[in-house]
């Protein structure tokens, strides 16, 4: 059962109009194309979210900044936080899930290719919906965790919160759909011989992340639904005059919110765990423990949410319990840090750009983690919560952790995705600017916080002892801007004219490096049989994996197809000077491999869904008194019709 193409049946030729041009993107169900869509969208939003941050920093550069008004500032930090979390890091994760998981487990696509396309389009439309507020000068302004009752109609009558709520609701649907898809994919599409304990570590961390997604998002969905019903239909979930308890929102939100932060970091951990072994020329130290610690982090993540609420007066018992459970998370996370260090120790480290960012993550995330432990002690947190000390913490874990990991992953897998390498020189410049700028921006915030500077303030008076810290932070942000521009330039330039990579520019260990870059639509002409955690090293440089337990008795070592000479250990630039796309690959059709047919239906369904929500937001607008309901209903109808059309049409061309 190793191969799937015994006696290939013949298939109809796929509709050619879907094969190139705009259509090929709108109608694609190819996980690689969808992955790229996620990647580009997330990068764009990183620039926007960063721009918002830049304005924030400019406003806070000195006392009594007057660049923006209070109202604008509140919209800026709300959208900055929401954008960075929901429209940058999560879709960045999704980009790598999409592109890498099928490649790493030796599959030809995800379990539900059309659902996958649906997830992306829903995400995109939700993201645009969320940002549409800017056009009406009514961007969300309730903070990224939108505490009730401030976000109820009574205290926020405008459209601002409506955009935020509905946007969040739409994004949630996208994440849930993707979650089910990848859980199934990882369980059910692993190549023969790839037992769970042979799965590449990134896929493992993604696997854990998917469970966090499908278990955490229903909760926020409920919380948001309550608020929507309150705002649009006058229910009482957060109505203070009806005796509602504002802590209901806080508990439901953070029940989602804390698992969410591990949704943001685990994929980054996974990426770094792929990069470090390759550039240390050593297997990952303590693979099983890395796996278990990831699972443990995800599990503990559900038991600590109230550490965001130490100031609300939960009582000594609850405070103690949540304080201690929070501290526990340091243990599995620490194990990861130490195992990474042990992986590098005794290795032969090559400091390519991905490696630099991976090392950067270890250095910076540790700082954020330690400040996290400082919050986890409830009495101490009473002096820290809602100050810049917290802002420092979460930027060290989010930027120093998630973003660093994502940059590492981007430089590392860019050649696989595009067939070309990113420029190393620009890459190193990008890294050092980021590293310095990042610390200049966020380290002083620790002091600003300890010196009593509250977060979410658009102005502060002079002589409060905050001027220096803020000035330094702002200069740091300038440097980060520079860094980001370098990155963008490198990305664009390398896509066009980067050095050709060949199959395996880094000397990778996992199967995705055995296929051409960029991979053909079917990824693997023959589904590989996996015989260890490092199949390529087994084939190319067995000495590297001599010590790794693999290939249990009985299973013979079948060697996977490896891309020729250029995959040799020391990096002398790619020898295969032709782009994979220029090399003539047999098409899936010729190979008799059934690939899902491209279709526009998922996009249509997602549009129907969005129209539905647009109708809802129009409900309170006088001009649409008679229209909002028809709009909602037509949205529903459109959605249902597209859905049926999609579900009742076969995934692949019929045999004949």
């Amino acid at each position: 059962m190793a191969t799937t193409v015994a006696a290939p049946p013949r298939y109809a030729v796929p509709h050619t109009k879907y094969e190139r041009g705009l259509w090929s993107w709108l109608a694609t169900v190819d996980h690689k194309k969808i992955g790229q869509l996620y990647l580009y969208t997330a990068l764009a939003f990183f620039l926007i979210g960063g721009l918002e941050a830049l304005i924030i920093r400019q406003q806070l550069k000195g006392p009594n900044g007057t660049l923006v008004s209070a109202e604008t500032y509140n919209q800026l930090f709300t959208m900055h936080g929401t954008t960075m979390i929901f429209l940058v890091i999560m879709p960045m994760g999704a980009a790598f899930f999409n592109y890498l998981i099928p490649l790493q487990i030796g599959a030809r696509d995800v379990a539900f290719p059309r659902l996958n396309a649906f997830s992306y389009w829903v995400f995109l439309l939700g993201a645009l919906f969320m940002n549409a507020g800017w056009l009406f000068g009514a961007a969300p302004d309730g903070g990224w965790f939108g505490y009730a009752p401030l976000t109820t109609r009574q205290f926020s009558p405008g459209l601002n919160i409506d955009f935020w709520l509905i946007g969040l609701q739409i994004l949630g649907l996208s994440s849930l759909a993707a979650g089910f898809n990848f859980v199934t994919t990882i369980i059910n599409l692993r190549a023969p011989g790839m037992h769970f304990m042979r799965m590449p570590i990134f896929t493992w961390m993604s696997f854990v992340t998917q469970f966090l997604l499908i278990l955490a998002f229903p909760i926020i969905t409920v919380a948001v639904t309550f608020l929507m019903l309150d705002r649009f239909f006058g229910t009482n979930f957060y109505t203070i005059t009806a005796g509602a308890d504002p802590l209901l929102w806080q508990h439901l939100f953070w029940l989602f919110g804390h698992p969410e932060v591990y949704i943001l970091i685990l994929p980054a951990f996974g990426l770094v765990s792929e990069v470090l072994p390759v550039f240390s020329r050593k297997p990952l130290f303590g693979y099983p423990v890395m796996v278990y610690s990831g699972i443990l982090i995800g599990f503990l993540g559900f038991g600590v949410w109230a550490h965001h609420m130490f100031a609300v007066g939960m009582g000594p018992i609850a405070d103690s319990v949540f304080g201690v459970t929070t501290m526990l998370i340091a243990i599995p996370t620490g194990v990861k840090i130490f195992n990474w260090l042990a992986t590098m120790h005794g290795g032969s480290l090559r400091f390519t750009t991905p490696m630099l960012f991976a090392v950067g993550l270890i250095a910076l995330f540790t700082i954020g983690g330690i400040s996290g432990i400082m919050h986890s002690s409830p009495p101490a947190d009473l002096q820290q919560t809602d100050t810049y000390f917290i802002v420092a913490h979460f930027h060290y874990v989010l930027f120093g952790g998630s973003m660093m990991g994502i940059f590492a992953g981007t430089y590392f897998f860019f050649p696989k995705i595009t067939g070309r390498l990113m420029d190393e020189r620009l890459g190193k410049i990008h890294f050092w600017l980021t590293f310095v700028g990042m610390n200049l921006t966020f380290f002083p915030m620790h002091f600003a916080g300890l010196n009593g500077m509250p977060r979410r303030i658009y102005q502060y008076q002079a002589n409060q002892g905050w001027d220096l810290e803020n000035l330094v932070s702002t200069w740091g942000a300038y440097i980060l801007t520079l860094a980001t521009l370098v990155f963008v330039w490198n990305f664009v330039k390398s896509r066009r004219s980067g050095a050709v990579a060949g199959r395996d520019p880094w000397g990778g260990a996992t199967v995705e490096w055995s296929i051409p870059s960029p991979p053909p639509e079917y990824n693997y002409a023959v589904i590989p049989t996996i015989t260890s955690r490092y199949p390529l090293w087994d084939a190319k440089s067995p000495e590297l994996t001599a010590d790794v337990p693999h290939t249990p008795e009985g299973e013979k070592r079948t060697d996977v197809s490896v891309g020729g000479k250029e995959t040799h250990a020391s990096f002398k630039g790619p020898s295969d000077t032709r782009m994979a796309s220029e090399v003539a690959h047999p098409s899936a059709h010729e190979l008799g491999i059934a690939m899902p047919t491209a279709t526009i239906k998922p996009l249509l369904a997602s549009i129907g869904l969005t129209v539905m929500f647009i109708g809802l937001i129009l409900k309170n607008n006088a001009n649409y008194q008679s229209l909002w309901l028809p709009i909602i209903l037509s949205g529903v109808a459109f959605f249902v019709v597209s859905l049926y059309a999609w579900l009742l049409s076969p995934l692949e061309p019929e045999h004949h």
């Binding site: 504002p246 032969s348 009495p379 101490a380």
Partner: protein, 408 residues
Amino acid sequence: MTSHYRTRRLAIAALTAVIVVGLAACSTTVPNTTLEPKTEFGRAIDDLWDTLLFWGTIVFILVETFLIYVVIRYRRREGQPAPRHVHGNTTLEIAWTLAPAVILAIIAVPTVKTIFVTQADAPQGSLTVEVIGHQWWWEFRYPQYGVVTANELYLPVGRTANFVLKTQDVLHSFWVPQLGGKRDLITNQTNYLWFTPESTYVWNGVCVEYCGTSHANMRFKTFVVPPDQFEAWTTHQKAGPVFMAAPATTAPAAGAPATQETQPAPQASAPPVQPQTAGSLPTFPAERLPVYAASYNPVPRNLSIGDVTGDPARGAQLYRTAPCIACHVVQGVSAGIVGPNLTHFGSRTSLGAGLFPNDARHVALWIKDSPAMKPGSKMPPFGKSPAMPAGYDDQQLADLAAYLLSLK
């Protein structure tokens, strides 16, 4: 290309940065620091913080130095032997699972202790202060003294103050960094917080839960004064407004609806109180406030007023019929409860919840266009303007200001 030199240089750069900013942090220019507590509550937290900082630093140094060592020591060099290929080491891994566990235990024990100490009931005979949050100002009530005031908190040194925290509208959070940790004001819930100020001084307080447009402008001041001054202050605050002493008899209980606990000032005592407290109002006169506690935010450029001098008497007449009375209490004159109590407005050092100096010009401007002075302010503009031709002219504004400021 020799990134280990870079790394070293960087480490040094980072270190100097830390030292520079660190010095800034420890110098006396940090009036709102959380690290020099002035109460037992603050010190309990600070002790905990020291433990956290100590172990945090240990972990930080261990991890980062080892990282730098590895990065430098194991860089790929020519003719370097192929790496040894350990794929794991159980004893090591157990070791670095247990080590953090031990450290965390060391942190957890004092943490839990401190939780129960700081959340115990306030000691007997402590001073009860009701703190009521409003968008975007603070109401302070002293039920034991029948005093109601706003945005300026008076505490006697050495006596435990037990804060009863409530909110009128959205969530806020009560925080005086130098006096100890914060506690949120939660709708439909009452929270408690207590501490004992140990030295007389003035501290800044802020709202630290995002509460809407002017969250940043929801500040207050805390005056910690000697007990006798505190007593004097309460008697004075309890008494009717000084300026209106006589007319106050007409509507004795006017202030009552606003302040249930307030026993209307015994009129007889009103005059005597005054000379006794006259020169020595137990406030820090604004000009003698430490610079960080003074309020001197710039006035929006487009907002101005001709320099007219106001007449308190005319202002008083005007006030009785002014829309102000719908929202503000001036004991014996008006009974509105939406806005801050103005009975002793003149005795406050700052205006608009710690934004501006409490002087004639700013008060006049405030009445003229409060939302311009403080974004989102719930107090409508009353000055004459194209939009409001019927509004007060500059003279009237000045009169009102003069009257209010005369309410010592």
